[in-house]
């Protein structure tokens, strides 16, 4: 999977959470949304964990950009501020990010993207 956050400190912590989640592995990290979309096109990850403050006012646009280059990638947004909605993507607050939360959101992904049963690479 792909992890993107413009804060290096939080990026490291997020990677640690992913590595601690059974069946999940980090394929690449980056610090901007543009680079994240680029990497998604190259690597076709199953899951992208994306800091919502990097993207514009409408998080749906970020999801659409990912869908365009890599339709099979499931996008989860993380947010530092309490935010009412993540557009079409699931949203988790940064304080709540944990292996359990990650696994739970992964489990809630729509059936269309359920191809591998164990976990995203």
């Amino acid at each position: 999977m792909l992890v993107a956050d413009d804060s290096p400190v939080f990026l490291e912590a997020a990677v640690a959470v992913v590595e601690a989640t059974p069946g999940f592995a980090v394929a690449a990290t980056c610090r901007s949304e543009a680079r994240a979309v680029e990497l998604a096109g190259e690597l076709r990850p199953d899951l992208a964990l994306l800091d919502e403050s990097m993207s514009g006012p409408d998080p749906s646009e970020a999801a659409a950009a990912f869908a365009a280059v890599s339709p099979e990638t499931y996008v989860i947004l993380v947010s530092a501020d309490p935010r009412p909605f993540g557009g079409t993507s699931p949203l988790v607050s940064k304080e709540q990010l944990s292996p359990a939360a990650l696994a739970e959101l992964w489990g809630q992904r729509p059936a269309s993207s359920r191809e591998c049963s164990t976990g995203p690479a």
Binding site: S7, V9, F10, A14, A80, P82, K94, S98
Partner: protein, 517 residues
């Protein structure tokens, strides 16, 4: 056209030949300049004849010698190169029947030097200061006028003495009156012309026109009865001061000119025409009246203008300071958000990861407490950064941000009305600022038990009303939150009203121009 161009480019000598005839007319002698000379000569001559006709100028001296003002103003505004017009005008105006030709020519040279000196000095002054709207400019202009007229008042009488028209003994007396009359003419016309030669064009709304008309009527009436000797002439002073304050340089110079015109007309009507050697004490009195009136009015106008400019500058610097403070607040909020807040969040996540490995009850309790405190720190930091700049607005919108403020207030807040559509971010930020400041003010000072908030949006504005049932008596002292709120609202072109009767409570109303989407 093209063929002509080919010929001139290819054939060098032809080009020179073609240019030849044009080169015989000097570049400085253009048609518009010639017309300028004619115009100046006519104006100069006309103003001199005007003085003779109405009897306030004589062949040697005058109560008011207008041509000096006309000539100096023309050269000041149009440029010194128009001097031949003044020379022609003065030669035409000389009364050759009353004085010998050579005396008249000497006098003309003095008069020409006079207008050139005044125009030169005033043009120099104008390069640095406004000649009417700064005290330095007015001082420079007065100095230029006095110096120029002194040249004429020395050269003129001396050349008349040399030609035998004046006795040497009468020179000091004639010089003095000469200087006074010329200075009066310069002081009346030069500022008047400068005031009216500048943009913008005159625009009078009906109310202002009525006010101007009333001023003209009062000045005319007071000047007239003063000229009849009924009342002292200085009665007109307060009115001229008001005109300077209300109408600026144009109004003040015009009013002085008008008042002097009426007084001089009345004087000549009463005492008969001004002629050679008719230096009655009343003439001297009139000249001093003109000098004092013109100088006071010019200084008053400059003071009023400088005060206005200082006020505008102060207001601009207030807005600059406010904008700078706002930018600094945003920077701090961004730094907090991107720095400390991310670090604390990362810490919370890592702590959560390791908490699973805590096996002993002591260690579990330690983790739980640490996580709780950390969460609190994150919340406080978030509140702090939102307080610095309401990024909460972009997330929640003004209505929810107001609800959140109300929820946090220690005094119960009733939300009477909240906007339903979002407005532009800047006006929302200003409205939010009004809410936070007035709520903080009410919490600190009012002793109220209830606060009511109403935020209403219409097509062009957001209006915010905050009222409490506290002790009232709130004031906008310098540096207070309420004054800062007023400045913030007014800097956006809005209005701010504070009603705080003692013992009844406080109500603030702010209307902020907004673009509602």
């Amino acid at each position: 056209m093209l063929r002509y161009l080919d010929v001139t480019v290819v054939d060098g000598p032809d080009r020179v030949a073609l240019r030849g005839p044009a080169a015989t007319v000097p570049a400085w002698l253009t048609l518009s300049r010639l017309w300028g000379w004619v115009l100046l000569a006519l104006l100069y001559y006309g103003s001199a004849r005007f003085g003779y006709a109405f009897g306030f100028s004589g062949p040697i001296a005058a109560i008011v010698w207008l041509p000096v003002g006309v000539g100096a103003a023309f050269l000041t505004i149009g440029g010194l190169s128009f001097w031949p017009g003044a020379l022609i005008g003065d030669l035409l105006a000389d009364q050759y029947s009353a004085i010998p030709v050579w005396g008249a020519v000497g006098q003309t040279i003095g008069n020409l030097l006079e207008v050139v000196v005044i125009a030169f000095v005033v043009r120099q002054v104008m390069r640095r200061w406004s000649p009417l709207e700064s005290l330095r400019g007015v001082a420079g202009m007065l100095a230029g006028i006095c110096a120029g007229t002194a040249v004429s008042a020395i050269v003129g009488p001396l050349s008349l003495t040399a030609s035998g028209a004046l006795s040497i003994g009468s020179v000091p007396h004639v010089s003095w009156t000469w200087w006074l009359g010329d200075t009066c003419g310069g002081l009346l016309v030069v500022p008047l012309a400068l005031a009216w030669s500048r943009r913008p064009r005159l625009q009078l709304k009906p109310r202002r026109a009525l006010e101007a008309f009333a001023a003209v009527a009062v000045i005319g009436g007071l000047s007239w009865i003063a000229a009849r000797g009924v009342t002292p002439a200085y009665l007109v002073f307060p009115i001229l001061a008001i005109v300077a304050i209300r109408f600026g340089a144009r109004g003040a110079t015009t009013a002085v000119f008008f008042s002097v015109a009426v007084v001089v007309w009345g004087e000549t009507d009463r005492h008969g025409h001004f002629a050679v050697n008719s230096f009655a004490p009343s003439v001297l009195k009139t000249q001093f009246f003109i000098l004092v009136l013109a100088m006071s009015s010019l200084l008053m106008t400059a003071l009023v203008a400088e005060r206005g400019a200082a006020l505008r500058e102060m207001r601009a610097s207030e807005i600059r300071a406010f904008t700078a403070a706002e930018a600094e607040r945003r920077r701090m909020e961004r730094d907090l958000h991107d720095g400390a807040q991310q670090r604390l969040l990362a810490l919370a996540v890592r702590l959560g990861l390791n908490a699973r490995e805590a096996t002993t009850p002591t260690l579990q309790r330690f983790f739980a407490e640490t996580q709780g405190q950390l969460r609190q720190a994150i919340d406080e930091l978030r509140d702090l950064s939102h307080g610095i700049h309401p990024s909460v607005l972009s997330e929640l919108g003004l209505a929810d941000a107001a609800r959140s403020l109300a929820g946090r207030s220690p005094i119960p807040v009733t939300l009477m009305e909240l906007p339903t559509q979002p407005a532009d971010p800047d006006s929302q930020a200003a409205a939010y600022y009004v809410l936070t400041e007035t709520l903080a003010n009410a919490q600190k000072h009012s002793g109220a038990s209830a606060i009511r908030i109403r935020v209403r949006s219409d097509d062009a504005s957001l209006s915010v009303t905050v009222e409490d049932n506290g002790i009232g008596g709130a004031r906008e002292s310098v540096g207070s939150g309420l004054m800062g709120t007023r400045q913030r609202v007014e800097s956006r072109g809005g209005s701010f009203a504070l009603e705080s009767p003692s013992g009844v409570g406080t109500r603030i109303t702010a209307v902020i121009p907004a673009r509602v989407s």
